[in-house]
Subunit: 243 residues, 2 copies
């Protein structure tokens, strides 16, 4: 497996439909922006070919070169603790950004791995700094996304009790996976039970039991990685700590 940043050529001019859901959408489509600037901005962002599951985007210690946006698929970011166990920091779904972890010490402090077949947009940070002042908008946008991630993090690991955390996780993933006004409560988890468990700081066994429990309560329907929220309202109550 090669580190991604080395190998990917810029692939421009593909269909841009996926962009509608991207966190950088307002940036890439700054309606009514100076066309010349827009051209330069678009020239910066590279688009990856399709990355198969298991690919590594970057590893701990890799130098910071870019911020990434997920066009399709799912990325897992994780690190390995002193005992050799993997600690999952988070998952990045369609339209979300990742790679901030290296903004400060200029080196990545987690590994980013492809879970499902994934394609990315790559935003080289150095070139952005070079354009400098003209790209205030992008920087402001990135600040916002960082801020949002910031609060989101704390929400999942937080709640007391395994059931609460699992419920919160399912709702979290659902809202990030679906378009705003969808009434389709089915989705497929891109990640393994182990990964979810690590993320929630519980064991895979406990996770399995809690999923079964929520199933028996008729709040969700579980079939392997396919999930259906049967009663999202009550599931939300559980997520907020109602027994």
């Amino acid at each position: 497996m090669n580190t991604y940043a080395d190998t990917v050529p810029p692939v421009l001019g593909e269909g841009r439909r996926a962009c509608r859901f991207c966190s950088l959408h307002e940036f890439c489509w700054p309606l009514g922006l100076d066309p010349e600037l827009l051209r330069r901005v678009r020239a910066i962002v590279r688009r990856s070919e399709s990355l198969p599951a298991g690919s590594i985007v970057f590893r701990v210690g890799d130098q910071f070169t870019a911020i990434y946006a997920v066009r399709t698929g799912c990325i897992k970011s994780s690190s390995v603790d002193a005992g050799g166990h993997e600690l999952v920091h988070g998952f990045h779904l369609r339209g979300e950004l990742f790679g901030f972890d290296a903004v400060y010490p200029d080196q990545h402090r987690c590994n980013a791995q492809v879970l499902e077949t994934t394609s990315l947009c790559v935003v080289p940070f150095i070139e952005i700094d070079r354009l400098g002042a003209e790209l205030q908008t992008l920087h402001a946008r990135i600040r916002r996304v960082m801020s949002r991630e910031f609060t989101r993090q704390r929400m999942c690991g937080a709640g007391y009790g395994a059931k609460q955390r699992v419920a919160a996780f399912l709702i979290n993933i659902y809202t990030r996976l679906h378009r705003p006004n969808s009434t389709d409560y089915q989705f497929r988890l891109p990640m393994s039970r182990e990964d979810i468990a690590s993320y929630l700081s519980i064991t895979a066994e406990t996770l399995s039991r809690q999923l079964a429990g929520l199933h028996k309560m008729k709040l969700i329907r579980v079939d392997r990685r396919n999930i259906r929220l049967v009663d999202p309202a009550r599931l939300g109550l559980v997520a907020q700590g109602a027994s």
Copy 2:
């Protein structure tokens, strides 16, 4: 209790010794920077009077106006969950920044409260945006601090087991409270047991027992809120999961 942003006048020209430890130090003291720019930059940052314990800096829902740096003292950021229980998000010690949580939706999503008598620097975000291009450095600096906070968050709540988390917490606070080359392993916790417990997602009782346990293992010395790391090396091992 008034919201802080309303009431505080700019207090300039105080002694700037505390600044040496500030996250924004490189920004406020950009050695060899254009004096004119430096003057304008300094004019932006306001310094608060002394805030007594219990003061509220901002509340959930308050509009985003500024980012804050702790000159002396300690700030707790927290929110209240659906069940009415306080959830502590983090603590901010001397030299650290807080208030990022509102960068995105333009409203604060947690409460910030003074734990010890505290004085702050206030960095009004709007004025910074106004100066715009000239302040790239500040924006870059703020990005970095956000990034660092980002990873730091995940570290404490992470480890398995209460003892591990408590040990990690003590080391964390110690390193943030002391100057780099200090050999003085004593410090005073600015926050209550309840707050620490909430932050670590354990109960205050468990925390108390774990502190007593670490004391009996002769790794630390506990006297009310005064802590002394007797064997920092072994404490570090515990923090990393060595039973």
